[in-house]
């Protein structure tokens, strides 16, 4: 067991309103194999029950525990403490979003961007009755790297363009749009293109690549955005 100091951002709207929050230090022993979520759970269950954060599956599929750890966005449940390489670990809420309490942020604006791009399959032609639509393995492969998103918010929260322009759809919503754009079954390009071919859409991205670095699922939203641009230009020609 190794000693670590966790410097955790705290904000209680009922006490700290009007302030910029505070930092609370917890000195705890960390066992081998612990993730940052394990450490937060230890703090909540054994040191300070008032610490608030979101968590659910604890193995990287639900996307609840996105936060900023030592300055880098990731999901806490997948971040091994030992891999951080520091004995002092700072844990902060995802930036770019309003803090509700401690490490919990308001994700509504993030979801709203998704709703804006119509995040569902649009198909006008009727599917075959009592059969699946066919899709070749090659066409299916185009979805790889786009459909695995867990909506943790790490990408959009790391995006300087989003910090400056809160209307920007952000890497997450644009990747979702790309996921449908390349799906051989989808016919919704016309419906979707207006939302993304916008000054707050694909053209706003400055290819800073923060989102790629932040994604815990190693997805490449910047590449997806570039693919969308290419599709759009093709459509204009």
């Amino acid at each position: 067991m190794a000693e670590y100091i966790f410097r955790v951002f705290r904000y209680d709207p009922e006490k700290d309103e009007g302030t910029r929050g505070r930092v609370q230090e917890y000195k705890i022993g960390v066992e081998r194999g612990w993730t940052v979520l394990d450490a937060l759970n230890y703090i909540k269950w054994h040191v300070d029950g008032s610490l608030a954060y979101r968590r659910a599956c604890r193995h990287g599929i639900c996307g609840s525990c996105g936060m900023t750890i030592n300055g880098k966005n990731t999901i806490a449940c997948e971040q091994q403490v030992a891999d951080l390489g520091t004995q002092v670990v700072t844990v902060e809420p995802l930036r770019g979003f309003r803090v509700i309490k401690d490490l919990i942020v308001d994700m509504e604006p993030f979801y709203d961007k998704l709703y804006a791009i119509k995040p569902y399959l649009i198909a006008y032609s009727d599917p075959p009755t009592d059969k699946e639509r066919l899709q070749s393995p090659e066409d299916r492969k185009l979805l790889d790297g786009k459909y695995e998103c867990i909506l943790c918010g790490c990408c959009t929260s790391s995006c300087p363009t989003y910090w400056a322009d809160k209307e920007f759809l952000g890497p997450n919503a644009l990747m979702k749009a790309a996921r449908f754009a390349v799906d051989s079954r989808d016919e919704g390009w016309e419906e979707r293109v207006n939302a993304i071919d916008d000054k707050h859409g694909v053209w706003r991205c400055h290819t800073i690549f923060n989102c790629v670095e932040a994604c815990p699922k190693e997805l490449n939203a910047t590449r997806a955005i570039v693919e969308l641009r290419r599709l759009m230009l093709k459509g204009r020609l």
Binding site: K44, G49, I61, G63, S64, E132, E148
Partner: protein
């Protein structure tokens, strides 16, 4: 009122509203709840996993006003953690038949599953899969472009006599994730109303009639009343009663505990499935797909020990059998390094197959066990995974107040929290996503039928929120010496040891006493967050209350059932006892403890036989 028997009284309705001055006032008056926090929806669904969202879609499609209440944002629900697949006899790659799937599920259930319900489920399976595909699920594909299928434990050809069959429809090893996200996308498309991060506290049931739920708004704090003509629970399981579990932190028996509290019975709660391949010490799921693709289970001596226990099906035997085999290896000193660990070896599959078909498993093994399965075996141990028991329902998902036939009008349940029963004493892999989807849909359809007959909201009892308000206030003010987290850890540690893969009377009695003691200590808890906004400590305390109530019923049921069947294995009983125990347990909570009743198993086609693999 036609088919809805027991529907009393006459109503005057205009614009879907109760008429008459006094009554109209009553409609919105609930003690202890602010007026604007009383909501009205035709249907209220609790839980946003596959069952809940499928039900919501059906109701919404029919044009009714439906709201989904969930303690986490919908895509965070635990259905998304399912990896391997969803079963349906599509025969996309080789011969398969609905009847084979029917037989396998009955045999897998150790003949405790109700065969009418199982038959319905396997028949509707292909239709649900096609509907999912039409919604946009990115299934993996065969060379011809059809939905890809893989092997899974217990699914075989020719009524149990043949080789394993390719029946699990898959999207790599993220099947649950894609189904969950696609359902959510469809709900967004149709404009289903979600109340995310609302934690339901109690049911509103009077005289056998359900009128909605009372909930706590986690984000802002505050009690809300959801007044509904139809209420459907899709609240999931209770793996968090155990220390080693695949389940999410959110799976804390909330729905089933509320049903108990409302004086209704639960069915077959003693049957808790242990998944054989959880990452050692953490319980995180390594999908059965790893064995479906050909993975080996290896003990300390380097043996594929399943040879001894299921010589025919080997690693593809059902989960209960493999978990027991592993535990036997532990007891006989053949766990890896003498510990409770077995190796799951995938190395012979080769890097390409592992990367293409099991990418998430590789990621999980690397991130949580620190091993790359291409180079090293994964250390695993049995982990609490799924609850076969739950809220007793009929085949239309209507909740049965006596556990047998009397419907609690206006109340449905579907998915893991319900017990139809399609899994009996042991569930087959890939049948859980199927159960949640088919019964979510069935519940939705039945709700639509009900709503098209019932036009009015009946007045709410004014005191319907009192219990929930009192409980929240009690916990917020409580200042006893006990920490909820400490009590929960005692419960979880002991449940895994004393009410786990193998059980006996002595251990179970000890466990029962521990729970009784914990329930007493629970009365003296305190929480350290006294605020209203996003009070996760309050939620943990409420969840613990639910776990303690439900654990008591699990243990009492396990003590009561003196036989070995499926996931319930009593080392002090000789074996399966069809003469005395081919029946479902119904359990009620009373002042004196847990009371039991029974109901017969529905057997339509397959007569119980010895279950061998």
């Amino acid at each position: 009122m036609g088919k809805f028997e027991g529907y009393r009284g006459t109503f005057r309705c205009v614009d879907n509203r109760w008429l008459g001055t006094d009554e109209a006032k009553e409609l919105h008056e609930v003690e202890g709840v602010e007026l604007h926090n009383v909501h009205e929806h035709d249907a209220v669904i609790v839980g946003a996993g596959l069952a809940g969202m499928y039900a919501a879609l059906e109701v919404k499609k029919a044009g009714f006003d439906v709201a989904v209440l969930t303690k986490v944002f919908p895509t965070r629900s635990h259905s998304g953690a399912a990896q391997g697949g969803i079963a349906a006899a599509l025969a996309n790659l080789e011969e398969d038949h609905i009847e084979w799937h029917f037989y396998d599920t009955v045999k897998g259930s150790d003949f405790l599953g109700d065969q009418d319900a199982i038959e319905l489920m396997v028949r509707e399976a292909p239709l649900v899969i096609f509907e999912y595909e039409h919604m946009g699920v990115p299934f993996s594909r065969t060379p011809e472009g059809k939905i890809m299928q893989r092997y899974f434990g217990g699914h075989v050809k020719d009524f149990g006599r043949g080789k394993p069959v390719l029946r699990a429809c898959m999207a790599a090893d993220r099947t649950g994730h894609v189904l969950l996200h696609t359902l959510w996308e469809q709900c967004v498309k149709l404009g289903v109303r979600f109340y995310s991060e609302y934690y339901v506290l109690s049911l509103i049931i009077t005289d056998g009639h359900c009128q909605g739920v009372v909930a706590w708004d986690l984000i802002n704090g505050g009690i809300h009343v959801f007044h509904a003509k139809a209420t459907c629970f899709a609240t999931g399981g209770y793996g968090r009663a155990y220390k080693i579990t695949t389940n999410s932190h959110a799976n804390t028996a909330d729905g089933v505990a509320m049903v108990l509290e409302a004086g209704l019975p639960l069915e077959d709660m003693e049957f808790v499935q242990f998944h054989p391949t959880g990452i050692a010490k953490q319980g995180i799921l390594i999908s059965e797909a790893a064995r479906g693709e050909g993975g080996y289970l290896i003990n300390d001596k380097g043996e594929r020990f399943m040879e001894r226990y299921a010589p025919d099906k080997m690693e593809l035997a059902p989960r209960d059998i493999i978990s027991r085999s592993m535990w036997t290896e532990f007891l006989e000193g053949r766990g890896i390094g003498g510990e409770r660990v077995i190796h799951l070896d995938l190395r012979h599959l080769g890097a390409d197959k592992i990367k293409e078909r099991l990418p998430q498993i590789r990621e999980l093994a690397m991130k949580f066990a620190g091993v790359d399965p291409i180079d090293e075996p994964i250390p695993i141990q049995p982990t609490a995974h799924y609850s076969m028991g739950g809220i007793p329902t009929d085949i239309n998902c209507r909740v049965l107040g006596d556990g047998k036939e009397q419907w609690v009008r206006g109340f449905w349940a579907a998915g893991e929290c319900a017990c139809v029963s399609v899994h009996g004493a042991n569930r087959l892999g890939t049948n859980s996503l199927l159960d949640a989807s088919v019964h979510g849909k069935r519940a939705g359809r039945d709700i639509v039928e009900y709503l098209s007959v019932v036009e009015c909201f009946e007045p709410l009892p004014v005191d319907c929120a009192r219990k929930a308000v009192d409980r929240v206030n009690w916990i917020l003010k409580a200042d006893g010496p006990e920490r909820p987290s400490e009590l929960r850890e005692i419960l979880q540690d002991n449940m895994y040891e004393l009410c786990g893969v193998f059980r006996n009377e002595e251990d179970l009695t000890k466990m029962y006493d521990i729970i009784k003691d914990l329930q007493k200590r629970y009365q003296n808890i305190h929480i350290e967050d006294k605020s209203k906004v996003f009070n996760t400590h309050l939620m943990e305390a409420l969840e613990l209350g639910h776990l303690l109530e439900v654990a008591e019923v699990i243990v009492a049921g396990a003590l009561n059932r003196t036989e070995c069947r499926g996931a319930h294995w009593r080392t002090d009983c000789p074996g399966r006892d069809d003469e005395n125990w081919l029946k479902h347990t119904l359990a009620w909570k009373t002042e004196e403890g847990v009371e039991f009743d029974y109901k017969p198993v529905v057997i339509t086609r397959f007569i119980p036989e010895v279950r061998k693999y």
